[in-house]
Symmetry: C2
Subunit: 121 residues, 2 copies
DNA sequence: CTAAACCTTGCCGTTGACGTGAAGGTCAAG
DNA sequence: CTTGACCTTCACGTCAACGGCAAGGTTTAG
C-alpha cells in the first residue's frame, strides 16, 4: 500500500508517516518510481507509535522500544533485555502522569460537583 | 512576597510566573517601585496552575477555570455554572488521556514481562 | 555610598511533532 | 496524450510554555 492509504487507515497524514520514517520508526520499501511501499502490518506499527506518542514518549524513546514490539508473527523479543531499564523509566513516567491527571481530574470533579449542586439546592 | 520568593516556594522560576500573569492567570499587586507583590494565597493558585498544566490543559483553559477554584476562604463558585460544559470537556479529555496512558503502560508492561522472563527461564 | 542582589520590560531562542507550500516526477482515466 | 491525482525531496512555518539575555531601575547590607 502507498503512503496516503496507510495514512487514511491510521487516521493520520502522509507528512506524519514521512516524519516517523525520518526518525527511524518506519522503514518502508521503495518502488522503482521512488514511491514508498508499506506492508499491511505497518498499520499496527503506526498504531503503536501513535499510542506511545500520546503517552508522552518521544520519537527517540519509541525508536528504542519499537523493535521489541511484535508487529505480527515475526520475531518476539530481539534485544529487549538490554532495554529493561529504559522501559522501567518510561513506565514510571507514565504512572506519574496518570497520577497527576487523576489529581487534576479530581479538582475538576469538585468544581463540577459544586457547579451542578447550585442548580438543585 | 516578591516574585523570586514565590517562585522558590512553588518550585518554579520568576520567568514562568511572569508568563502566567501575561496569560491572565495571576494578577499580582504592584509596589511603588513597580515590583510585583504576591499575597501568600498566590502559592495555592500557582500550585493549581501547575497541576492543570501537567494535566495537559493550556493556559487559555486554565484561565477560564481558575477563577472558580477557591484559593483559600474566598468566594466559592463565582460564575462556574456557565463553565460546566467546558469543565466536562476537559474532564473527558483527561479521562481519555488516562486511558491512553494506561494502554501504553500495558504495552510496556508486556515488554518488561517478556524481557525479564528471558532471564529466568 | 557603593556593590551585590534584586527587580522591570522587551525581545529573540528552544523544543517536538508535525503543517504547508514549492518544484518537479509518476500513474490512471479519458 | 493530456489532465488530475498521486508521489518525491527540500525547506521554512507553527504552537506552547517557557529560557535567556540585554539594558536599565531598586533595595539592602556593609
Amino acid at each position: 500500500m502507498r503512503i496516503s492509504e496507510l495514512a487514511r487507515q491510521a487516521g493520520t497524514t502522509p507528512r506524519a508517516l514521512r516524519y516517523y520514517e525520518e526518525q527511524g520508526l518506519l522503514r518502508p520499501a521503495r518502488l522503482a518510481s521512488g514511491y514508498r511501499h508499506y506492508e499491511p502490518q505497518a498499520l499496527g506499527t503506526v498504531r503503536h507509535i501513535q499510542l506511545l506518542l500520546s503517552a508522552g514518549l518521544n520519537t527517540a524513546a519509541i525508536a528504542e522500544i519499537l523493535p521489541c514490539i511484535p508487529d505480527d508473527v515475526t520475531v518476539l523479543a530481539p534485544t529487549c533485555p538490554e532495554l529493561l531499564d529504559a522501559l522501567a523509566v518510561e513506565r514510571n513516567r507514565i504512572t506519574t502522569s496518570i497520577d497527576r491527571l487523576a489529581a487534576a481530574r479530581a479538582v475538576l470533579d469538585r468544581l463540577i460537583q459544586a457547579g451542578s449542586a447550585r442548580d438543585q439546592p
